[in-house]
């Protein structure tokens, strides 16, 4: 499935706002909209405001009544969209309107786990570019981080915003807050798995791949093959049922912080095909677009540090996952890299985990 239903809600536009009046709609069912297009107008006790689309998509359904007063958080319309969300919201209950829509995600087992989007702050209102002077590098940075140039004090010659001006620590952009929201979401998810009994084991091995995607692909497919042979660790810890296929989340950097795209059945793909898939997903993540069908269905995660300076890391279990792997960069002296495996001890005992790690390293 390539589309995702997203409820655009009555936004909270001030600290005190509890409800708002839907003044008018700018779109109709079936309209294609771009991120930033105005969807509807809202009036509060303080201000009238336009609400913009958080993503590209198509208007699927209009829920709100024009002229009615709606509570903050109530859905106004449903957008069919490619998501821009980077990771699960493990915590949030599904908005009721979305829950009514049949969920067609493969390997999506847990009724407790629902997909929803990260809070998206309203894009900053940018002043016309011609009225603000800024060096090109400052403009690029403003764009990347969603900083309104009008909010930056210019200290350069001719009243120009310099790179130093925009690099001041107190300046934050819309994307920074999105990153923060994403980080919070991941952190709260990990908080839940902290109490799970687990063990972490490390072994060293000679490791070298010219490109990170090649190395990641090799790991993904090898680990997937092992999980397939060991159904008791290829299991959702929430439903306690083994998965039909194997899904592994590969942790990567995205525009909005860490992304956890899930690669389904990577062991059934050719190496080069899988490498290309990883590369393509990484590029999408950089642009802030991870396909929604890649956000669920994993029983394991891999954190690949092999192309950094980090030699080893302790991987943490993600909710509903049974195993987590981290791969370090080769040590400068020994020339070997650490592979570290964390397992949920409720499903796999320590010696068995050691055997799985041995099997992985012997198969690589």
């Amino acid at each position: 499935m390539s589309n995702f239903e997203y409820a655009v809600i009555m936004p909270k536009m001030s600290m005190t706002m509890e409800e708002g009046e839907l003044l008018g709609l700018r779109v109709a069912v079936g309209d294609a909209v771009k991120s930033g297009d105005v969807l509807f107008d809202v009036a509060t006790d303080k201000i009238d405001m336009e609400v913009e689309s958080p993503a590209d998509g198509v208007v699927k359904e209009i829920v709100g009544q024009v002229g009615s007063t709606m509570a903050v958080g109530a859905p106004v319309l449903i957008l069919l969209t490619e998501t821009q969300v980077m990771s699960f919201d493990f915590n949030a209950p599904a908005p009721s309107i979305v829950a009514d829509v049949p969920v067609e995600i493969k390997n999506f087992h847990s009724p407790e786990v629902a997909i929803s989007v990260a809070p998206i702050s309203a894009p900053p209102v940018l002043a016309p570019i011609a009225t603000i002077k800024a060096v090109p590098k400052a403009r690029e940075m403003a764009k990347d981080r969603g900083i309104a140039l009008s909010s930056v004090k210019a200290t350069g010659p001719f009243g120009t915003i310099t790179f130093e001006d925009i690099s001041q620590p107190h300046i934050s952009g819309a994307n920074d807050s999105r990153k923060a929201a994403n980080r919070k979401m991941v952190a709260s998810a990990l908080e839940k798995t902290r109490s799970i009994p687990q063990i972490t084991l490390t072994r060293f091995r000679a490791h070298a791949s010219a490109f990170i995607e090649e190395g990641s692909a090799h790991l993904l497919s090898t680990w997937a093959r092992i999980l397939r042979q060991n159904p008791h660790v290829n299991i959702s810890t929430i439903t306690e049922k083994p998965h039909d296929g194997v899904g592994i989340a590969l942790i990567m950097e995205s525009k909005y912080g860490l992304a956890l795209p899930v690669f389904a059945d990577p062991d059934l793909k050719h190496g080069s095909e899988l490498t290309a898939w990883i590369r393509e997903t990484r590029e999408k993540a950089t642009r802030g677009k991870v396909p929604i069908e890649m956000l669920s269905g994993a029983t394991a995660s891999i954190f690949d540090f092999s192309h950094t300076l980090i030699n080893s890391a302790i991987p943490l279990l993600l909710p509903s996952h049974t195993t987590a792997l981290a791969v370090g960069a080769p040590d400068a002296e020994v020339g070997k890299s650490a592979i570290t495996l964390t397992v949920d001890l409720r499903y796999c005992d320590a010696l068995e985990a050691a055997a799985l790690l041995d099997q992985l390293i012997n198969s690589l």
Partner: protein
């Protein structure tokens, strides 16, 4: 083993001698290049070594010299033309622009014009307005010509050998002040070739990328030495050939420094290095700029005769130092 420090005249002479020994079809023609040894002494003793057939003194007619060379090149020779002062190429412009540069294309690639035109360029010798210009921009604007500007004896030898090998007409602009000065770099014996169209990064510093041609390369290097003591670090890039122009190292450097200065002796208005700025403005490096681009070029005036004014009309080391210091301090 002692490192040979040659002047640019000596290095150029060596390149021509090597080419004439390698290929019987190479010969030199120009005014006073034979018995006299050249207006700036570049051909020197070549007349005595290779004879009057291969080192040919010509009448005072630039149009005739280049015309004869184009004809010789079309019939399988590899002529090297020496023009005493590059200003006199104006006399030969029809042969250079309408004949040499075009013939290969107008006969569907069936003919080549492997011609090298060496010319003494630039100011600083008290030769006044008609003998001091930097006209490389004229030729860079003519498709079909390659334009080379050596900045040192080492560069001059390697680039001239490549220019002689090249099947296209190559304009080779030699700054007069460089003829008598030994370079910073040793010149290897024997043949070596520096490919045309490859920029050279002479030093790397984090604060400012300086793109300079010809004599301005050594001035930029001297400025960089001076600024280094103040904690301002320059990258100096010599494009070596302005047609074709290798922008890759320039883009890569701007990515690291965020600031660009171009330095040329030719007048600023319509000058060739404006092309470098245009490519930066329209290319992949724009987003890395921390500061407006600095242009240091000759004044938009004919070169004056009075020595103080002649010096003031074109960029000097101290100009590069002060403008570099300024742009780095003001744009962080």
């Amino acid at each position: 083993m002692s490192e040979r420090m040659l002047t640019m005249s000596e290095a150029l002479r060596e390149a021509m001698a090597i080419a004439m020994e390698e290929r019987p079809e190479v010969f030199i023609l120009g005014e006073d290049i034979g018995i006299y040894g050249g207006a700036f002494g570049v051909t020197g003793d070549l007349y005595h070594r290779f004879g009057s057939e291969r080192v040919r003194d010509t009448p005072i007619s630039e149009l005739g010299i280049v015309g004869a060379a184009v004809g010789a090149a079309l019939s399988g020779m590899r002529p090297i033309v020496e023009i005493q002062f590059s200003d006199f190429t104006a006399q030969a412009m029809d042969q250079i622009v309408n004949q040499a540069a075009k013939i290969h294309f107008m006969v569907g690639g069936g003919l080549h014009v492997p011609l090298v035109l060496r010319a003494a360029a630039g100011s600083g010798t008290g030769a006044a307005a008609q003998h001091s210009q930097s006209l490389e921009g004229w030729f860079a604007n003519v498709p079909g010509l390659k334009v080379v500007i050596p900045s040192s004896p080492y560069e001059a030898k390697g680039l001239l050998l490549s220019a002689i090998d090249d099947p296209n007409p190559v304009i080779f602009m030699e700054h007069k002040l460089l003829y008598k000065i030994p370079g910073r770099e040793a010149v290897p014996e024997g043949a070596y070739r520096i490919p045309l169209g490859v920029s050279r990064v002479l030093r790397e510093g984090q604060d400012l990328t300086v793109v300079a041609t010809g004599i301005m390369v050594s001035r930029a290097m001297a400025a960089a030495d001076q600024l280094e003591k103040e904690g301002v670090f320059l990258t100096v890039i010599d494009p070596r050939t302005i047609s074709p122009l290798d922008m890759g190292p320039i883009y890569a450097s701007i990515e690291k420094t965020g600031r660009l200065m171009v330095v040329q002796e030719a007048p600023e208005h319509g000058g060739f290095l404006n092309e470098v700025i245009a490519k930066v403005a329209t290319g992949p490096a724009l987003g890395y700029l921390l500061a407006p681009v600095v242009r240091l070029a000759g004044m938009n005036i004919p070169i004056p005769y009075a020595p103080q004014l002649e010096k003031a009309a074109v960029p000097q080391v101290e100009d590069i130092v002060s403008r570099a210091r300024e742009v780095v301090a003001n744009w962080r």
